[in-house]
């Protein structure tokens, strides 16, 4: 575990990029697929700016420098019986906390535990003037000023460098069990819908190749009760960690993979027989396509985003997005090819 404050170097690098008008991209350990092809900008690497700066288990709050690997944070908080609620993907185990904030990605428990943005309490950032700014804080309720903290979640590096982040934690559930049910996507949809209107310990769902996997987590008595009522068999063939990190064989193919986000409660009918895997109560669907054209989602209320082996098309940001960018990065040097 490293503990190094590299912020002096990082801020200096941004200051000089600002004064020279040089575009700059940010990189942790390169765990996530790049968003744009042939990125020719200089990369500013946060990997050395690493270490947990404050962790108080009794407060359920942790602060860490942006280059801190999520794996390290997970190890430390698990040892205290706690977890990052949104369980952000680490991909090759190298994903950093800064990358989790910048990408805004959340793990399989997102519908139940909230998103990475939801549990983010504070950030320290460097804007496009080279100023170090603190927003949010280390307490769970804070409404002083606009919520710039959460604006940085999912900002994809376009608003500046995240130097550190503070997250709220949750106690680890007493018991976690996975139930497997053989069923079609239509049946899986029905099962999941029945859970949405009654209290249960459901905290993860995945449907893939004719099997629905349900994760129950919480007080052991309640989990046992839910497992029994589900009438499925307890299984161990799906690793939720591998699902989170896209380490399942499904994600290994070098074919285009789309991330399809649907309105809650809508059934994705896979009429074109693409290979698909769904999570988040069936609302997040990973779709493999044989070509680079997106899967047809227009008839649903949802959208498809390129994720792996695909790149974003160059686009002009809309009116307010362009102004937000201008407000934080007046000379337009941060990730100029990315539109958040």
């Amino acid at each position: 575990m490293t503990d190094l404050d590299d912020s002096g170097f990082l801020v200096g690098a941004i200051e000089s990029a600002v004064s020279n008008g040089e575009p700059i991209s940010f990189l942790g350990h390169g765990s996530k697929p790049r968003l744009v092809e042939n990125d020719e900008n200089a990369f500013l690497c946060t990997a050395d700016h690493s270490g947990i700066t404050e962790y108080r288990p009794d407060e359920l709050v942790i602060s860490a420098r942006s280059g801190t690997p999520l794996a390290e944070i997970e190890e430390v908080v698990h040892a205290q019986g706690q977890m990052l609620p949104s369980d952000p993907p680490m991909f090759n185990r190298k994903g950093t906390i800064g990358g989790a904030v910048a990408s805004g990605l959340s793990g399989p428990g997102r519908p139940w535990y909230g998103s990475t943005r939801d549990s983010l309490l504070g950030v320290e950032v460097v804007n496009g003037k080279g100023q170090r700014l603190n927003f949010g804080g280390k307490v769970i309720k804070n409404v002083a000023g606009f919520d710039i903290t959460r604006l940085y979640a999912g900002s994809k590096g376009t608003l500046g460098l995240i130097l550190s982040a503070t997250f709220k934690l949750l106690p680890l559930p007493e018991l976690v069990q996975t139930v497997e049910l053989e069923c079609s996507d239509v049946d899986a949809h029905q099962v999941l819908e029945s859970y949405s209107r009654r209290p249960s310990t459901l905290s993860g769902s995945c449907h893939f190749e004719g099997t629905l996997y349900l994760r129950f987590a919480g007080a052991s008595s309640a989990v046992k009760n839910d497992v029994e009522e589900s009438r499925g068999s307890i299984g161990t063939s799906l690793s939720w960690t591998e699902l989170r990190d896209q380490a399942l064989p499904f994600f290994g193919d070098p074919v285009p993979i789309w991330r399809v986000s649907l309105e809650r409660g809508i059934l994705f009918e896979n009429v074109d027989e693409f290979e698909v895997l769904s999570e988040w109560n069936g609302s997040l669907i990973w779709v493999k396509t044989p070509t680079e054209s997106p899967p047809p989602v227009s008839k649903y209320i949802g959208r498809a985003e390129p994720f792996r082996n695909l790149y974003l098309e160059a686009a002009r940001p809309a009116k307010y997005a362009a102004r937000i960018k201008q407000a934080f990065d007046p000379s337009g040097i941060f990730e100029p090819n990315v539109v958040a």
């Binding site: 606009f146 979640a153 949405s196 209107r197 307010y320 937000i324």
Partner: protein, 484 residues
């Protein structure tokens, strides 16, 4: 002059009965829930539709007239205090529940719908809307969004921010922003996060889609009575650190207990120095199990009496005292001033002691009633505005409490918003560069600064004028000096 022209436009575009300018007609709108701050609005528009909202915004933008948006006016920070030269845009007439969607477990409502009306409308489906500010019977969801309202159940269910999934927002430049929605994420910048808690400065919310949760099947409310305030504070940290997530965890001190008991007669132990109210909800087995643990913890931290309520009426009785604490304080003093600082939970005991010393220093009593599980304090400073200097003393006292919260590593407001009330303390919490970033962000949505001007974000000039010191990450210049 510009106002006369704006008024002509408002009257020609909107039905006459929605535009009020008569002194007697606009007088009832001169204050929100923070009654110490009053201002008579120049004009009031009681909007009945999105079209009317858009017209008001367009006219105000063209004529450079300030516009202050207001819901039910229950806010506690003066955020909806009118502007003497501006329009007060009131949204309480827009109160339709537009859709309850059981497939996605969401409800879509107009901004004037009251917080409680949502839960009441979906109760028959076994669902509820979780955030429940004390004013839930009256406060509107639009105002909840503008303030990022909390309540006694935020500890488990989160703030408004965590429970709103979609918004329609009208900008002063005439754009309708459709934000979020029924999917779990959206592309692009998180405008929703910006709008929630923006105190009416970035746009006007005209439609809100909220997440509905299944009503828990069981709940237990426990009251623990303590002879020592600090021990009760420690018990809060003790409960949280064991890994329990109570639905609510509230604390009241002696003065608050006595006032609430006199007012509501719910059987609170008036001999106690402090009480904790802890609600556990969920499945039957889980609730039984967790409440036994809480009971043990309360005993180990010195609770001399523990009341356990299992049936709904008993639970309601225990909560009724807590929920009537504010009006109860209103009975023991002519005026009270409610603060909203939030601190790390482990500092509860020490900050309460500091507040007690300040109380002696200013000669004003304080009743403490607050969301202990969230570390969100609500000291009620009791005073009498009719007595010379008491109002200004109470304000000074409040300001000192907030600075104490920042020093403890917390924030000046947990759920009530900055409004006009805490604007000076923003100078202590944020640096000039941070405040400047807020101003730049504001200009993104409101280039002329017409929406709720003078609230929430102080100008740098104001900060340098009051000469307050900026507390950087809990580090104050000259930490060796004693401050109360």
């Amino acid at each position: 002059m510009k106002n006369t022209f704006a008024l002509e436009l408002l009257r020609s575009e909107l039905s006459r009965h929605v535009v009020l300018t008569d002194r007697h007609a606009v007088r009832p709108f001169e204050t929100d829930g923070l009654t110490a701050y009053k201002e008579t609005p120049w004009a009031v528009v009681l909007a009945e539709s999105v079209d009317q909202v858009q017209s008001v915004l367009r006219i105000c933008n063209e004529c450079r007239v300030p516009v202050v948006t207001r819901g039910a006016g229950t806010g506690l920070s003066g955020g909806a205090r009118p502007n003497a030269e501006g329009v007060l845009l009131v949204l309480t007439k827009m109160r339709e529940i537009l859709e309850v969607d059981l497939q996605s477990c969401t409800a879509t409502v107009e901004p004037g719908v009251t917080n409680l009306a949502i839960s009441e409308a979906v109760q028959k489906h076994g669902l509820f809307y979780a955030p429940d500010p004390s004013s839930q019977i009256a406060c509107s969801i639009g105002g909840n969004v503008a303030e990022n309202a909390g309540g006694v159940h935020c500890l488990k269910y989160g703030l408004t921010l965590h429970n709103v999934v979609g918004l329609k927002v009208q900008t002063i430049e005439g754009d309708e922003l459709v934000l979020g929605g029924k999917s779990y994420d959206s592309s692009g910048y998180d405008y929703m996060a910006l709008m929630v808690g923006s105190e009416g400065m970035l746009g006007v919310v005209t439609e809100v889609t909220v997440k509905l949760l299944p009503l828990p099947s069981h709940r237990i409310v426990m009251l623990g009575a303590f002879r020592d305030l600090e021990r009760a504070g420690e018990c809060v940290a003790g409960i949280i650190s064991t890994g329990l997530v109570p639905a609510g965890l509230e604390m009241m001190d002696k003065l608050a207990i006595t006032a609430a008991e006199e007012y509501a007669k719910v059987g609170y132990p008036t001999e106690a120095e402090a009480i904790l109210l802890c609600e556990i909800d969920g499945g039957e087995v889980e609730v039984e199990h967790h409440s036994t643990e809480v009971e043990k913890l309360m005993k180990s931290f010195g609770a001399f009496k523990i009341d356990v309520a299992k049936d709904p009426e008993e639970c309601e009785r225990l909560w009724r005292g807590r929920k009537s604490a504010f009006p109860a304080a209103g009975r023991i003093a002519p005026d009270y001033y409610c603060m909203d600082g939030t601190i790390p939970r482990r500092k509860i005991g020490s900050v309460l002691s500091s507040i007690a010393s300040m109380s002696r220093k200013y000669g004003l009593a304080v009743a403490n009633v607050f969301h202990a599980g969230d570390g969100n304090l609500h000291p009620l400073i009791l005073y009498d505005a009719a007595v010379k200097d008491q109002q200004s003393k109470a304000e000074e006292f409040g300001a000192e409490i907030l600075e104490c919260c920042i020093l403890a590593g917390g924030t000046i407001t947990g759920e009530h918003g900055v409004g006009v009330e805490k604007i000076d303390q923003m100078c202590a919490q944020f640096s000039d560069e941070e405040l400047e970033q807020f101003h730049l962000l504001r200009k993104v949505f409101d280039p002329y600064g017409l929406m709720n001007p003078g609230k929430a974000i102080p100008t740098l000039a104001r900060c340098s004028e009051i000469g307050g010191m900026h507390v950087h990450r809990g580090e104050l210049p000259h930490p060796e000096l004693e401050r109360f």
